[in-house]
């Protein structure tokens, strides 16, 4: 018989460190920190930190079916034990028998007819009351409410009649219950309702859950259900009750008792225990038979009060407190958060804390919040100025760039990299590339209007340009300033020249004149680069001059003089000491441009790998170099290889090679994948000439994402600016009018006649009130001449200007769209609530809702502005 008993665990209601394990006997344990002086040698380890000490054992009560712990502080360790024959015995554990306890311990509460006692519950209010749920008997009640302080003990019971029930001290036997409920029925489970201590929730045999009120026991509220085992009230939400049946848990709302609010997913095995967590809202733990996991249901997000038919969301997860062993029972710790002790069938106990689910959310502004248990953590980017730009999150960078109008400089395109902060070499290269592309295509346009072929070639990148190259001439140029012929072949063609233009080395024209470029480099202090470019153009003297200049410049590097000296010793003799020393020592030079200079001078003609594959040298310089010194076979191969490298690395310098083509989108995709910088991607692709790249779904995706980002940051003005910028470059993105104002009388659109108006759609429809004499009479429908509705505030017909507007003509208006002007125009717009359909001048409406929440029309209680979720937010960017 004892083999069938599985240990159950019961936590003391008042002593957070005591619990009882009950199987065939009752054992009281105290839980404490492991290894502390308090714990004795016999302590059982429960976890790494805690151990339990056995305090007392009570084996006086055989055939235990259920146990309930007396809810009051005193007497401390009084337990009610329900037995298989229906008797309820009061017993205690490890108590020095004080007077109060002594009186109660050993008391037996005996039902008229013996049957199994299924459940016990102390009344939370009147602690003398103990409810016992019994199996059914044809002639008896299944719920008996005992008063343990009752002294009544019928003497009438003849001695021989108690012979079957064993010998008991009849003085301690109580046979008259206070209340009897549920005739001809079984009670499988019961609990007192915490909201009203006179009420009792019973789960009975005839598939009923019933609520009895002891003040009027003839009335009951009941509901038919299978889920009649183990009713338990949520301690945090006293109208919520869980009950189970086999593998199914039903959650009830006592206020809507007709049917379960929802049922949890059915488990294949029957449930043995269901318990609400006392320390956390809405967390239900369930255990099935022969299982080693405890399933947790988090009803945190259940809407309360429960909605109509909507299934609430429940997060289900399971925990495995002790790796392999089967769990016999568990009990939540009464006060420590999410902590429980589990016990296995062979009485191995385990102290276990359910780790709280972490919920995490990114804000749109790089901050990260997460919540764990009762703690809320925030992780924000260090906003201090000391943070290096490179370490900043891309979102922060994008926000800063959006505020500095990044991408909007369409005249000096290269300046955009300065707007972006000017510290990113890739962006710098990208914007210079775009600058040169646009510059070339512009001048091309001006000079040769017909050459649309060439026009598109400019956008297609150097990779395609050099492929189309034809008629390359090979010359051997002299070192400038000397007649000495070099043995270096030098290539030239129209396409190569275009490529050099795109690299920024030369400006428009047939001549290869790098002098302006050198000048600009000198200005920027890029001495080494300038010297290298000069050298690649076979002008050693200029190179030396530049280096000298660099050495003498403010904060100049004196080493440049040494380099200049080395350079001046150049000799084209193959076996000279100079050559030998330079080719080996150049590798020790830290500056890449100085290094490639000597590499160039010491290389065999046509074998410039040391220059071409020096990754620290800007791509544009390497490409320009290749365009001059590689032949028609080598050049496309090199460019292809480099382009693929760039594409894989997502390096924006590669845009020079790929241009704004599908290849370029591939490259940009890889860049966005790495950085998330949709801003640069959007602006860059918008510059694409015929708009083919804009049709690429990836590009559309970047643009939409960027717009959404701006919206999320509440950068609505920036979003609008971007939209305007976008519609200028990509006319197909111009949104069509979505809202039309139709006349109440004839139903025709009133904006029909003034469709030339620039602002349409997006919820507002401007009705032009420019104040010009020809347009002043627009307070009536152009179709039927009936008056337009009146503004709810000024009661003037719509179309009437809000205030006197300076009478400027239409032509001026476009030229002079000052901010004040635009605002004044906006004030005249129609606006109306989509809910109550009242409205008027936008300016009036705005000022009304600044102080009011209800519609200005009297007797209309519509809270128009609150219906607009974004209506109460303020933009976080400046206008």
């Amino acid at each position: 018989m004892s083999s069938g008993y599985k240990p159950d665990i019961l936590w003391s209601p008042h002593h957070a460190d005591r619990y009882v394990i009950c199987d065939t006997e009752l054992s009281l344990y105290r839980i404490g920190p492991a290894g502390s002086s308090e714990t004795k040698a016999g302590a059982l380890p429960l976890s790494e930190e805690t151990a339990a000490t056995l305090l007392a054992i009570n084996s006086d009560t055989p055939y235990m079916k259920c146990v309930a712990w007396y809810p009051k502080q005193e007497p401390e360790c009084l337990l009610a034990v329900g037995q298989a024959n229906g008797r309820v015995v009061l017993t205690s554990l490890g108590q020095s028998h004080n007077s109060k306890c002594k009186e109660l311990v050993g008391k037996e509460l005996v039902p008229k007819h013996a049957r199994q006692c299924n459940t016990l519950a102390w009344n939370p209010g009147d602690s003398n009351w103990l409810a016992a749920g019994l199996d059914k008997h044809r002639a008896d009640f299944s719920v008996l409410i005992w008063d343990i302080s009752s002294k009544f003990s019928p003497e009438a019971v003849p001695a021989e009649k108690v012979r079957l029930s064993g010998d008991v001290d009849s003085g301690l036997v109580v046979t008259k219950p206070l209340y009897e409920l549920g005739q001809n029925d079984a009670c499988l489970s019961l609990c007192w309702l915490p909201r009203d201590h006179q009420k009792l929730l019973l789960a009975g045999m005839h598939r009923n859950l019933a609520i009895f009120d002891l003040r009027n026991t003839s009335q009951k509220t009941f509901v038919n259900t299978k889920a009649i085992q183990g009713v338990t009230v949520d301690p945090h939400f006293q109208d919520r009750v869980a009950s189970f049946f086999e593998g199914q848990v039903a959650i009830w709302d006592l206020r809507k008792f007709e049917k379960p609010v929802f049922t949890l997913t059915e488990q294949p095995k029957p449930l043995t225990k269901v318990a609400w967590c006392p320390t956390r809202m809405g967390l239900l733990a369930t255990l099935t038979r022969d299982s080693n996991i405890i399933r947790l249901y988090d009803m945190q997000h259940t809407p309360m009060p429960f909605g109509d038919e909507v299934e609430p969301t429940i997060i289900e997860r399971s925990v495995q407190p002790c790796s392999e062993s089967i769990i016999s029972s568990f009990a939540w710790h009464p006060s420590a958060q999410n902590r429980m002790v589990v016990v296995s069938p062979n009485r191995v106990m385990n102290d276990f804390t359910v780790f709280e689910r972490i919920s995490l959310a990114w804000s749109s502004t790089t901050a990260l919040m997460w919540a764990c248990g009762r703690h809320l953590y925030e992780c924000t980017e260090d906003a201090g100025q000391g943070v290096a730009a490179a370490e900043k999150d891309i979102a922060t960078k994008m926000r800063e760039r959006a505020q500095s109008h990044y991408g909007h400089d369409t005249v000096q395109v290269w300046r955009n990299h300065v707007l972006a902060g000017g510290d990113d070499p890739q962006l710098r290269s990208l914007w210079y590339t775009l600058h040169y592309i646009l510059h070339c295509s512009y001048t091309e346009n001006v000079e040769q209007k017909q050459q649309s072929n060439k026009q598109s070639l400019i956008y297609s990148g150097i990779k395609n340009i050099v492929k189309s190259s034809s008629g390359t001439t090979e010359t051997r140029r002299c070192w400038s300033g000397s007649d000495r012929q070099t043995d270096v072949p030098w290539y030239h063609s129209e396409e190569r020249s275009l490529a050099l233009q795109l690299c920024g080395w030369i400006s428009r024209g047939p001549d290869i004149d790098v002098e302006p470029f050198l000048k600009s480099l000198e200005q920027e202090g890029e001495w080494e680069r300038a010297a290298a470019v000069a050298l690649f153009n076979l002008d050693i003297r200029r190179a030396i001059q530049i280096l000298n200049k660099g050495a003498s410049a403010e904060k100049g590097d004196l080493n440049l003089n040494v380099v200049a000296m080395a350079l001046s010793g150049y000799t084209d003799e193959k076996n000279s000491l100079w050559r030998e020393m330079c080719s080996s020592l150049r590798l020790q030079l830290k500056k890449p441009y100085l290094c490639v200079m000597f590499a160039f001078l010491t290389s065999e003609p046509g074998a410039y790998d040391a220059v071409l594959y020096e990754s620290r040298v800007a791509v544009r310089d390497r490409v320009a170099f290749a365009c001059m010194f590689l032949n028609d076979a080598q050049l496309p191969r090199y460019i292809d290889k480099l382009a693929n490298e760039m594409k894989e690395a997502g390096n924006l310098e590669g845009i020079l090679l790929t241009g704004l083509t599908k290849d370029g989108v591939d490259l940009m995709e890889s860049y966005v994948d790495q950085t998330g910088d949709v801003q640069t991607a959007s602006f860059c692709m918008l510059k694409g000439s015929p708009g083919e790249v804009l049709k690429d779904p990836r590009v559309q995706c970047w643009i939409e994402n960027y717009r959404n980002l701006l919206d999320a940051w509440r950068f609505w003005h920036k979003r609008a600016e971007f939209d305007i910028h976008r519609s200028k470059l990509d006319s197909s993105s111009k949104p069509l009018a979505q809202v039309f104002v139709s006349c109440n009388f004839c139903g025709k659109s009133i904006s029909y006649s003034c469709s030339a108006m620039p602002h349409q759609g997006r919820g507002f429809s401007q009705y032009g009130v420019s104040g010009s004499p020809t347009k002043s009479k627009v307070t009536s429908c152009p179709g039927c001449r009936k008056p337009l509705p009146r503004c709810a505030l000024c009661l003037m017909n719509m179309g009437t200007p809000v205030s006197s507007c300076p009478g400027t003509g239409k032509a001026d208006e476009k030229a002079d769209l000052t901010r004040d002007k635009k605002l004044a125009q906006f004030n005249n717009w129609f606006t109306w609530c989509h809910n109550c359909r009242h409205g008027g001048h936008a300016g009036h409406m705005l000022s009304w809702f600044r102080d009011h929440s209800e519609c200005p029309v009297s007797a209309c209680t519509c809270k128009c502005m609150q219906l607009d979720t974004t209506g109460n937010l303020v933009p976080s960017d400046s206008v």
């Binding site: 055939y63 007819h113 029930s165 009897e180 001809n184």
Partner: protein, 329 residues
């Protein structure tokens, strides 16, 4: 009050005493190994004449076909009365007494034959499946009818066949069958299903090997003692009816006994086997008891009916029934 029509389709069978050994395998399985069968309703009652088995269709498959096994041709349905439960203060007439006026008498009036099985936990009224529309019609005025379908209790709506059901005249019901009252006293009890394995051998001995025991105390039969034992396992609940001597053989604290330790005396109805078609027998007995407010158990078997009444009331019961007998004649 609610009347639950349970979903078990029941067979009532009789096993002759001499043929019991061929059925023991099935019976032991049904009684002690409920997890091995799908049977939810099993009752075995031993009388001096035979063993009466009431079992559902799943359980019936466990019994062998045999010449010793006779089966009543009909399929039976069990009805169970559930009181609203509220009346905590009212005195409690129990068993058939409680339902005598509300269920048994109306059914008798409509000539519906019933088969009673009282257990420790409740009373089952068995009616033939074919009589169900009539039963529902008869009882729908008094009860909320609920039908158990696949474990769910659903409202059973009366089929609405009211035509042709004539409201019968209420006639006094005289007792027409001879009554006898054995001298031994009985105990109606139960035990915790968890403890069943520990007393299984004892129960088997009582069930199947009582013949030998009876022979040793052979003279008890003559002195008015009757061999009567009933075991039922219905929806997980065990109910036992045995005489006082038999209870002594059980260990302490295994049997559920009432605090008052009440004992019951038997009234045995019928001189000749009663058959299944005659109606009104239960009503004849239970109505006078209800009038006198005497609690009673009632167990029908294949051949005879048995009522159990509290020992202290036996004289008044006999008296009441005799009066009824005489008024009938």
């Amino acid at each position: 009050m609610e009347l639950h029509i349970l979903e078990h389709s029941l067979k009532v069978a009789s096993i002759a005493k001499e043929g019991i050994q061929i059925c023991t395998h099935g019976l032991i399985k049904l009684a002690f190994l409920p997890s091995k069968t799908r049977c939810k309703f099993f009752s075995l009652t031993e009388t001096p004449e035979d063993y009466t088995i009431i079992v559902d269709e799943d359980g019936f498959k466990e019994l062998p076909e045999s010449e010793y096994l006779s089966v009543a041709d009909a399929t039976w349905l069990a009805l169970n009365v559930v009181s609203g439960g509220g009346s905590a203060t009212s005195s409690q007439p129990i068993g058939v007494t409680k339902i005598a006026k509300s269920v048994i008498a109306p059914l008798a009036d409509h000539n519906i034959s019933v088969f009673m099985l009282s257990t420790y936990q409740t009373d089952f009224i068995l009616v033939r499946e074919r009589d169900l529309p009539m039963v529902m019609h008869t009882l729908s005025s008094e009860f909320t009818l609920l039908r158990v379908v696949n474990g769910e209790t659903v409202a059973a709506n009366s089929t609405g066949v009211t035509n042709g059901f004539v409201k019968p005249k209420l006639v006094p019901r005289p007792i027409i069958h001879p009554l006898s009252s054995p001298s031994n006293m009985f105990c109606v009890t139960s035990l915790d299903p968890d403890t069943l394995p520990s007393v299984a051998t004892l129960l088997m001995d009582v069930m199947f090997y009582s013949g030998g025991a009876k022979e040793t105390g052979g003279q008890s039969e003559d002195s008015g003692h009757i061999r009567f034992f009933s075991f039922s396992l219905i929806e997980g609940y065990i109910s036992l009816v045995m005489d006082e001597q038999t209870t002594q053989r059980f260990p302490n604290n295994v049997l559920f006994t009432s605090a008052s330790g009440e004992l019951w005396k038997m009234v045995r109805i019928g001189g000749q086997p009663l058959g299944f078609d005659e109606c009104g027998i239960v009503a004849q007995i239970s109505e006078p008891l209800a009038t006198a407010d005497i609690p009673a158990y009632y167990i029908s078997t294949f051949k005879f009916d048995h009522a159990l009444v509290p020992e202290e009331n036996i004289q008044s019961v006999i008296g009441a029934l005799r009066t009824n007998e005489s008024t009938g004649q």
